[in-house]
Amino acid sequence: MNRSAAVFRETSAEPRTESVPFSHLSLELGHLYMEDFVEGPARLRRHFAAVRPWVDAARAGLGPLGTGRRPRISTCFLIDDYFSRLSTPAELIPPLLAAAADAGLTIDYLARESGCAVADPAHRDRAELAESVLHRLVESPPPGSNGFRPPVSRTGWLTNGRRAPARRTSAALDSTGTVWQPPSETGARGHSVFMDVELWNGPDDDRTWSCAFLASVWQLVRLGLLRDNGRAVLTPTPFDDQEFPAEWDALPPVLRLNPQAAPFTAYVTCSVLPARFLPVEHAVRVILDQVHVEAEALAQIAERSAAEGFAVPAGVVDRTSYVFPPGL
């Protein structure tokens, strides 16, 4: 068989988007900074105790499905090993799991934030997830964008509207006499809440991704919307009763800790988070609103959820939800 012809056929005709299994809901049991872990087990227990009632509420909110069947719900927890690494997995994870268990919660899946940034160590040939998502951003055009002047993009930043024009000339030199204009939010109701999100900084070949951007990647991963050349990414690795390693990089990016867990990826997500993450999650929504996900991935979800009689919102950002409980 001619291999070249096969390459062409594969790309033009054959379906090539790998499908992934889906829960109905992916429930995130909070988020902590490394510094919080250092405070000790009491701090962790307080965290999960505050999360618990809202987890129950989120489960109840989903209710029994129309078919009378119980919804599939998986829980997850994201550890920030990207911005700082104060401790090792062996030291940090067992107390975390114990504190969750004390509150009657099971962490089905444990993920590392680095997994959203760098290439999967098991698949070195693949692109960094964050970079793939960066290339999938399609900026929402403020009215008047006609293709010639795309929204003035500032490298590494993304907005929900139109920036105030930069003063590029001194008044004496500017023949057009431009006056200052305020920034504006596209589609604002009356007044603007303008947001400008930093996606990364540092040199092009060694970027440091922002917390908001990695959190957006995390949402897309949980929603099962990312692929690398059609292949599923961050597929959970079973991790049953093993010792946790001393190095973060020795830990797979997503672990399945509970063998009975429903699938990691889900039609919709809910995150129970401390209110201090509200600005970050606002930024996540600004980003998610402008990510163009693969049509085939969307189509697979639409088809499967329809077959289950479960309504999934069309827009990606509408598939995420949050709880910011008091005392967390």
């Binding site: 960094e128 793939s132 290339h135 055009p141 008047g144 006609n146 293709g147 795309p150 929204p151 969307l298």
Partner: protein, 322 residues
């Protein structure tokens, strides 16, 4: 996206193709071609090796929200995304295409952006699409502030041209870029597939297509890329031969013009290499009048004959006068 003229598909597809010589001394190999066209990290460059080497980038989208060009001057706004992609033929000729599909009507106001992102490459009119006026207005050219998809193609070309590790910007011959602006609508019942090709000033070509209902927008774009590639080849070679003083004493001057054509362009002529079978009729019309392949073959033969004569090294004045 569903096919052209179907119940759920677009009523009109419009696009613009830029064609130019890749700015390198030599044609690039497949590896370099893939690197040049790798516009997105998570999607591969599609490479085909038969009947010639051809690489196509993943699609990239550009959001727009603006007035549409209309012949009547009627104000009509559309929101959505324009698809752009780049293609490289035999590592030598670079093309950038920007195109969009438009349905007959859309919601009365702009929707959340997510609504448009799940319809990639579609411009949704706010209200009704002024179909005929848009076709005419688009082909005539846009006014300031109106949709300008040529610039989308331009910026893709510029983005690729800035990849200096691969591109030396030292081309073996100077060539002018061309722009081919096109629209495609579904042929009515009983109507034949048709093509109207106009050569305008400054390298602009205008193509109005009527295609079989159900034609995929991508297939229309591929047809127009193929037309643009061959029109560029013909234009470039004909321009180089125009005014060439084969009678001059200095054969080297002639050789300097002809050699690069043989080295870099003559083997590229391959009409319909990747055109959807249903659209071959469009090409057939161009072959009948003005006869693209006929002209190309004549030019190519002339170049080869001249090279043979130059190689024989017989100076013209040495020939017996008549």
């Amino acid at each position: 996206m569903d096919g052209l003229g179907t119940a759920s598909g677009p009523v009109l597809v419009c696009g613009e193709v830029r064609t130019c010589l890749l700015p390198t001394r030599d044609a690039v190999d497949e590896r370099a071609a893939v690197e040049l066209l790798r516009l997105r990290a998570d999607e591969r460059v599609r490479v085909s090796r038969h009947p010639n080497r051809h690489a196509v980038s993943p699609d990239v989208l550009t959001g727009v929200d603006c007035r549409l060009p209309t012949a009547t001057g009627a104000r009509s706004r559309a929101v959505g995304t324009v698809t752009a992609r780049a293609a490289l033929t035999e590592g030598r000729v670079l093309q950038a295409t920007a195109y969009f599909s438009a349905p007959a009507a859309g919601p009365d106001r702009r929707q959340p952006w997510g609504y448009y992102l799940v319809r990639p490459g579609t411009l949704v009119p706010v209200g009704r699409l002024p179909g005929k006026a848009l076709t005419e207005g688009f082909l005539t050219g846009h006014q300031p502030g109106e949709l300008d998809i040529g610039s989308v193609a331009d910026s893709l070309l510029a983005r690729i041209s800035r990849q200096h590790r691969i591109l030396d910007h030292d081309t073996p011959l100077t060539t002018a870029d061309t722009s081919l602006r096109w629209t495609a609508a579904a042929a009515a019942d009983g109507e034949e597939t048709s093509l109207r090709f106009t050569k305008a000033e400054d390298g602009l070509r205008i193509v109005e297509l009527r295609l079989p209902p159900g034609t995929a927008p991508t297939a229309a774009a591929e047809l127009c890329e193929d037309l643009a590639l061959h029109d560029w080849l013909l234009t470039t070679v004909a321009d180089k031969l125009d005014g060439l003083r084969v009678g001059s004493e200095d054969g080297r001057a002639v050789l300097k013009v002809l050699r690069p054509l043989v080295d870099h362009l003559l083997h590229l002529w391959m009409p319909q290499a990747r055109v959807d079978g249903a659209l071959h009729t469009a090409w057939r019309e161009l072959e009948r009048t003005p006869g693209y392949s006929r002209q190309w073959n004549a030019l190519a033969q002339r170049i080869r004959d001249q090279l043979v004569l130059q190689n024989l090294g017989v100076p013209r004045q040495a020939l017996p006068a008549r």
